[in-house]
């Protein structure tokens, strides 16, 4: 804050020079005070925002780490009162759901991104698609959940891993499409022209030249979408539903880490609360890892300034 005081002093000097015109000593004093108040308010706001973040992480590590052991990763949930249960099925279930979601959301999202950047640049259709993708991004996840319930679960008369995967996959598409588009837009024209000049077919040049150049950024976008979807609970409540046993069948209900955390958090048992904290810690570790990776990739080389 040393530089801050110096700059305020300059301001004082300047207005001092103009004193004959308008600024009285009182006015100058008030402006000085307002300036400093604003600075400290902004600093205070930042600290106040960082505080819950730090609190959440400290609590997670403090309460989660104590119940994190080998059993947690290898055992099934046990009934109330027994010790040593784990969340192995939830971890595997989350993996299955996220795999399904990525298999659906990533190709469609990337393809939509290619269309937006390579074919539809500046056209009315692409502006509309871009806008719809942004709006779709803001649709609450619970709405996705009941829509997929109505679409898949109700006609098939049963909750299923497949329905959960579809719900998460749909949520990935807009994010992947938008980031892919942004990354492709940064690829210089000369690279496309070079490929086309060599007689490479257009589609081939897009896939193996343009897309390949932008690949680190595209992967970043996919990771972001993945991280966002990995923690989603609401769309899974009525699609994947949850399952206390081992299940990887796509037409059966399946457990997921966020669902298990939700159930355990609302239960009245201390043992389950501890498991919920441990599950959250695992989930957060996964997501923070993905986000940091994204951050690392985007702040390097050609992709700098992408976000």
């Amino acid at each position: 804050m040393g530089g801050d005081a110096g700059r305020a002093g300059e301001g004082e000097l300047m207005s001092g020079a103009a004193v004959s015109l308008r600024a009285s000593a009182l006015n100058r004093r008030w402006r000085w005070v307002a300036n400093h108040m604003a600075t400290w308010l902004a600093v205070g706001a930042t600290l106040l925002v960082i505080a819950p973040l730090v609190a959440i992480f400290v609590d997670l590590v403090y309460k989660g780490a104590v119940s994190l052991n080998w059993n947690f990763f290898t055992k099934l949930p046990v009934p109330v009162g027994e010790k040593g249960g784990g969340m192995a099925n939830a971890i595997v279930g989350s993996g299955v759901l996220l795999g399904l979601a990525s298999a659906m959301g990533v190709p469609i999202g990337i393809a939509a991104g290619i269309y937006l950047s390579e074919y539809g640049r500046g056209t009315k259709l692409s502006i509309l698609v871009r806008f719809t993708a942004d709006v779709l991004n803001g649709v609450p996840s619970i709405v996705m959940g009941i829509a997929v319930y109505a679409l898949i679960v109700a006609p098939m008369k049963g909750f299923s891993a497949f329905a959960g995967g579809v719900a998460l996959g749909i949520m990935m598409i807009p994010t992947v499409a938008r980031t892919t588009e942004e990354m492709l837009l940064m690829v210089p024209h000369s690279i496309r022209e070079a490929a086309l000049g060599l007689g490479v077919p257009n589609w081939r040049s897009m896939l193996s030249i343009t897309l390949k150049t932008a690949l680190p950024g595209v992967i970043t976008g996919c990771m972001l979408a993945f991280a966002r979807v990995a923690g989603e609970t609401a769309p899974l409540l009525f699609t994947a539903f949850g399952n206390n046993f081992w299940s990887t069948a796509l037409n059966q209900p399946i457990e997921a880490l966020p669902l298990q955390i939700y159930v355990y958090a609302l239960s009245p048992y201390d043992e389950w609360h501890r498991l919920a904290w441990a599950g959250s810690l695992v989930l957060i570790a996964l997501i923070v890892l993905a986000v940091s990776l994204v951050r690392y990739v985007t702040t390097r080389g050609a992709l700098k300034g992408a976000r």
């Binding site: 902004a42 973040l53 393809a111 609401a234 939700y262």
Partner: protein, 349 residues
């Protein structure tokens, strides 16, 4: 751009046109050219090209399809209550699944109140953070701090809910709520009984969750304000705060409003954390400390146990309303943010 992509095709077209016209193709290079024969041996790629193009277009259009599909599914599955209650569904305050009598007003009220609490807390803080990060923060700190605020956005809703149940709610109950009851009790918004859980707790956790959205968009909008604006104000002898107020915030205000509305959209639809701390009670009470339910939380809490068709249809209709409201809010917000970051009508003032 389109033109350039189509350029490689142009010579091929003339090739076809020339012989068709019956003119001796003088201008066409000798067909014996090794490059040309090599390319011809690989076949014509226009088929593959157009297939690829249609495939990409199809995927882009799938985004429209998804929105349309969500809308139609929600409408068809809420037919029962749409036909039975009509518009009265949204003004009726009775939520009685046993007697098949449904009114969504308590949830609309809960949604609005929690969102207002969230915005009242989050907006000043978010703008403060954005101002600090774009205008005041030393460069060395900026990257780390913005990463931290972005990390807030990456924490899953259910983890916020867990933290809120076991840390935030006890904190509110023992320290903050008694203080608010003493100071603001006269407004009627903070009166006992106080269980900790309720609309205020939900609003606070929502505020923490929407903060990163508002602050990161506000930052984006503020950095879109040209530097010349800042320099001009400073050159007139303004202090830094005056520069921020007159040079930056005034120019960015439309975009800031847009980002606030975007945060509102997120607050309206946020489900899990709210469902875990709001207390799930379909009642309308003036006190923010009373338990209530929001549109999203009632779906999350009751959908699984809704065995009756009318009950389920009522919940889906709430989902439909939530869908339409968030779409309108998001469209409004995006238009405002775009208006500024594109630089068009931003400098009207």
């Amino acid at each position: 751009m389109n033109l350039r992509i189509q350029e490689p095709r142009a010579p091929r077209n003339t090739d076809v046109a020339l012989p068709a016209g019956g003119i001796v193709s003088v201008a066409v290079p000798a067909p014996t050219s090794p490059i040309r024969s090599y390319l011809q041996s690989r076949g014509n790629s226009s088929m593959a090209d157009s297939t690829f193009r249609w495939l990409m277009l199809l995927c882009a259009l799938s985004i429209f399809a998804i929105v349309a599909l969500i809308a139609t599914e929600l409408v068809t599955h809420s037919q029962i209550t749409l036909a039975k209650f009509g518009w009265k569904f949204f003004v009726g305050s009775a939520w009685d699944p046993v007697n098949n009598n449904f009114g969504a007003l308590p949830f609309i009220y809960g949604t609005i109140m929690t969102s207002i609490v969230a915005l009242v807390i989050a907006v000043p803080l978010a703008v403060g953070v954005a101002v600090f990060l774009t205008e005041m923060c030393p460069k060395a700190l900026r990257g780390g701090l913005s990463f931290l605020t972005e990390l807030l956005a990456a924490i899953p809703s259910v983890v916020y809910g867990l933290w809120a149940i076991f840390v935030l709610v006890p904190l509110l109950r023992t320290y903050i709520n008694p203080f608010l009851i003493d100071v603001l009790g006269w407004t009627g918004l903070f009166v006992r009984p106080d269980f900790g859980i309720g609309m205020f707790a939900a609003g606070v956790i929502l505020a923490i969750m929407i903060l990163p959205i508002i602050s990161s968009l506000t930052r984006e909008v503020m950095s879109a304000v040209p530097h010349t604006q800042r320099e001009a104000v400073l050159a007139l002898g303004a202090t830094r705060w005056e520069m921020i107020r007159m040079g930056v915030l005034r120019n960015a205000r439309i975009g800031i409003v847009g980002s606030i509305i975007l945060g509102l959209g997120r607050a309206l639809g946020e489900t899990m954390a709210v469902a875990m701390v709001i207390g799930s009670s379909p009642t309308i009470s003036k006190s923010l400390l009373a338990p209530a339910a929001t549109m999203a939380s009632v779906i999350a809490n009751e959908f699984a146990e809704a065995s009756d068709d009318t009950y389920r249809s009522a919940l889906i209709e709430i989902g439909l309303a939530l869908f339409l409201v968030t779409i309108v809010v998001n469209i409004l917000a995006r238009l405002l943010v775009w208006a500024v970051t594109r630089g068009a009508p931003a400098r009207v003032s």
